[in-house]
Amino acid sequence: MNYHWNWGIFLEPVKSGDETYLDWLITGLGWTLAVSLTAWLLALTIGIAVGALRTTPSRLLVGLGNVWVELFRNVPLLVQMFLWFFVVPEFLPRDWSLWVKQEMPAKEFVTAAICLGLFTSARIAEQVRAGVGSLPRGQRDAALALGLTLPQAYRQVILPQALRIVIPPLTSEFMNVFKNSSVAFAIGVLELTFQARQMQEDSEQGIETYLAVTLLYFICAFTANRGMAWIEARTRVPGLIARSG
């Protein structure tokens, strides 16, 4: 391989301006974390709610939940990004549409966080539904028999158990959020992938650039993984062995 290695490139100034390439990557990492964590909070909130709705006795709620999941699950994330950015604002009422297009602060960031959040919420909803479904029907009966309302039964009895069960798949989703956030570069969020492309073109040191970015993504996802493992250990219930039926 005839390549001129230069690991010092990160500390060199960019061609136009007084920042270093490292500054670019740090900015990128900041936006990656911002998009990912915002999307994750959105995804968890909506995903748990929609997943729970899909297990209620109401056919209407189950139907709405199913539509939600299928809508976000069956369209590529990249296309969804473009839809939210270019298409959705056109369908808003006129005043809103103008505001979104011209005045909304951090437009790219907000769009990316909503898009990734809703996309991920559909996946979480599916896992939460499966988690609730794996509990014995008698748990719901027992909660209701004590006089709890259905929402109380979910809040106190069903979801605390279902969420513990789905921590392993949720861990993968949390890691996916960081990795999927790279798609946000397509609508101009200055996140890690965007900055990497910019650095590669500016510095012509593509290999160092992408190796560094790979390492940063790896650290994000791996930290997410360890964080979830910590939560899993913290919430473990003594003596709980999964019972079927």
């Binding site: 008698g138 009966d141 027992a142 209701l144 028999a145 709890l148 003596g239 062995i241 019972r243």
Partner: protein, 242 residues
Amino acid sequence: MIEIRNVSKWYGHTQVLANASTHVAKGEVVVVCGPSGSGKSTLIKCVNGLEAFTQGTITVDGISVGDPKTDLPKLRARVGMVFQHFELFPHMNVLQNLALAQVKVLGRSQEEAATRGEALLDRVGLRAHAAKFPGQLSGGQQQRVAIARALAMDPICMLFDEPTSALDPEMIGEVLDVMVELAQEGMTMMCVTHEMGFARRVARRVVFMDHGEIVEDAPTGAFFDAPASARAKAFLSRILHH
């Protein structure tokens, strides 16, 4: 206390309850028995509205269970229920299991709920296990906690849905002892069970079901000594000779 009148239930085209009528008076213990699939669990779950029924009426303390205007959570809070598989909440310790509905449904304070819970744990002989989780207890202990959990709501009557069927034989006695004591104190009880010894000791009447029908509803002595129907005779000879 519990009035069941002409109750029928279908799942699609399958009839699981056929015109069932019976009652449990205040302070009475009624045992419901019958072969598996006879509809006895379905019937008892209709009493507190965990299962809907298609026709007929059920009233508990004068309140109609099937009436859409009835506040079911409020009614259920007054009717204790014990399940075959205990259904303790595995993510809460024993005392939390006893306190949850007291606090969330009855509005008692945590301290009140804990005091009441501990008193009932004492009564079922499990005071020392208050801080344990259900998964750390034996089946018999879990079922005793489940009974205490129901009693913590100060119910006006108790429903038991095969409370000993999931237990190892050596643990059945400890659960039945608690139930017998409860019956002797005058608790109104409707018990789906195959424990015929229990029935003989404390039941006022025995209701025998088969294929969703109440085939026999007789005073306990009469039921065991001279069952009227061939189906009840066959059932008794099968389970008593085991």
